[in-house]
């Protein structure tokens, strides 16, 4: 069975600031990032759909000790965002100084942006990642 939304397709869309997900033909749930089965009911009956990229921050951390090859990125903020369509996804937040991140971030509305991790010696090529922006102080 064809893998409906491969990483490369998701990656290319994200590079254009479009967040793709999968809509389940069985239960209607949205799955993002893509996977083979619906995250809710395990159905393989999925269709590619474009998501709003909007959501709210559910948790965060500022990383000070980075993995090998990514030391110059630190410190940086990682957030988990609950999308309007339901799923949670992981991304970064570059809209504030990383040292200032606090519990006040939780619940803040955000919109989608994108940055690219070029990959390292253990990666299979570049990887786009959501870089969220505050939606409430534009």
């Amino acid at each position: 069975m064809e893998y409906k939304l491969p990483f490369r397709q998701y990656h290319k869309a994200l590079m254009k600031n479009q967040l793709l997900g999968l809509k389940c033909g069985n239960c209607g749930a949205i799955t993002c990032p893509p996977q083979m089965s619906c995250r809710n009911c395990s159905s393989y009956d999925l269709e590619v759909t474009q998501l709003s990229g909007s959501g709210k921050i559910t948790t965060y951390t500022t990383i000070f000790v980075a993995p090998e090859g990514r030391e110059t990125e630190a410190p940086y903020i990682i957030v988990m965002v609950e999308l309007e369509e339901g799923p949670w996804i992981m991304g970064n937040l570059y809209d504030m100084a990383p040292e200032r991140a606090s519990m006040d971030l939780i619940g803040r509305p955000v919109t989608l942006g994108c940055r690219v991790f070029p990959g390292d010696r253990y990666s299979d090529g570049p990887m786009a990642r959501p870089a969220f922006l505050f939606a409430d102080n534009a």
Binding site: T61, E68, G69, F117, A128
Partner: protein, 393 residues
């Protein structure tokens, strides 16, 4: 299924930059375990070995068959288990199955690791390989970052002020270091710490400070498992594995909205309790996966020792100490004993077996009269394994 007992235990020193190789460490722990039950190499029918980063640390893949050869288990089937930090517990679960089924009577199972040979930057990179590579490593997720996200989510979900959670997390590390001084194998056997040292350390991934995090470690731990019939000939104190559980999780973000509860752990430990026919109240001692201080608090809740959002009170009240309601990580835990990841599950199991046999009185960390123990191990984003062990004499 036949009953399966642990009849021998071996445990090397855990530490940083140990001078021995992963194979040498495993061999030392294995021969200690075999000597406990007077077992010769010709009697061992299979080898099960947890090892995660041998490829990166020593350039040694497929370590299991070399170990079998070195130990004189010539030509026996040898299998490596890679389940990140849960590797050895998964190996023990599988070894149990082979003996319980009647296929083998006596097997050797354990794990070995030399994480410090990689150095901190490469180790941080390779440990992050236990997170999802495309969608969660791309934003720079590290393993401390995983539990740092859960710490803030925990404070928010249960309305625990972050300062309050911070204090509870510090108490977890302080207790582990206290008991670590009672464990001659512990990496930090000479280092007690204060809550102020934990809360004042440098930030690894907010809100986790250095002393909220377990160290990178080297070491090995090995067990001999035997069928009930074989065990009776090998030891007067067989410790039976009476419950097993294992469950998988998806990448961290896909575990929502269940988080900060780890659903896989709740399912895994339920399997183990049901198989043993016990409840959390029956556990006399627990070794749980305290890779980070917040991880202990979440684990204690998932395992049924506290309500969700109230795990930290166990440490505040001293319930987790010897003499408390549920003694936890009396070995010093991953935090103070050390966390050579491929060996950790075997180390936890070794500790519980020795507690149940009453071996630890001289060390000052014996839980008197313990008859039933629980092992809890978490691997990467995706694996939880649990074992219930019970004294069989």
């Amino acid at each position: 299924m036949r009953k399966v007992a642990v009849v021998g235990t071996g445990h090397t020193e855990f530490g940083s930059e140990l001078p021995k190789t992963e194979i040498e460490l495993f061999c030392e722990a294995a021969t200690e375990a075999m000597a406990e039950c007077d077992l010769g190499p010709q009697q061992v029918q299979a080898l099960f070995c947890g090892n995660v980063f041998g490829d990166f640390a020593e350039g040694q893949g497929m370590i299991q068959s070399f170990i079998a050869n070195e130990l004189g288990f010539h030509n026996v089937p040898a299998t490596r288990f890679e389940g990140a930090c849960a590797s050895a517990t998964v190996a023990i679960r599988d070894a149990f199955m082979w003996v319980a089924s009647g296929f083998y009577d006596i097997v050797v199972v354990g794990g070995t690791e030399k994480a410090t040979a990689m150095g901190t930057p490469l180790a941080t990179r390779t440990f992050a390989m236990g997170a999802e590579a495309k969608y969660e490593f791309a934003p720079g997720l590290t393993f401390p970052g995983f539990f740092a996200l859960l710490a803030h989510l925990y404070a928010s979900t249960y309305n625990v002020p972050l300062e309050k959670l911070r204090e509870q997390m510090s108490l977890v590390s302080v207790q582990s270091h206290y008991y670590g001084t009672k464990n001659p194998h512990a990496q930090f056997r000479h280092k007690e710490i204060t809550p102020e040292q934990v809360s004042g350390g440098f930030t690894v991934a907010s809100p986790l400070r250095l002393l909220d995090c377990c160290p990178f470690s080297d070491g090995a731990a090995v067990l001999v498992l035997a069928s009930e019939e074989a065990a009776k000939k090998l030891t007067d104190k067989p410790v039976y594995i009476t419950g097993l559980g294992q469950a998988s999780s998806p990448r961290l973000s896909a575990q929502a909205p269940y988080l900060p509860r780890i659903r896989a752990r709740e399912l895994s430990v339920k399997q183990a309790y049901e198989m043993a026919g016990i409840t959390p109240q029956d556990i006399d001692i627990c070794e749980l996966h305290d890779c980070f201080s917040i991880a202990s608090i979440i684990a204690a809740e998932n395992l049924g020792f506290a309500q969700a959002g109230e795990g930290g009170r166990l440490w505040e009240n001293g319930d987790t100490k010897i003499g408390g309601k549920i003694p936890i990580n009396i070995s010093g835990g991953l935090k103070a004993k050390g966390h050579p990841i491929g060996a950790t599950g075997a180390s936890q199991t070794c500790e519980i077996v020795r507690q149940l046999r009453g071996d630890l009185a001289d060390s000052g960390r014996q839980v008197a009269g313990a008859k039933t123990g629980l092992v809890d191990t978490l691997g990467g984003d995706g694996i939880i394994a649990n074992l219930v062990l019970q004294a069989g004499w």
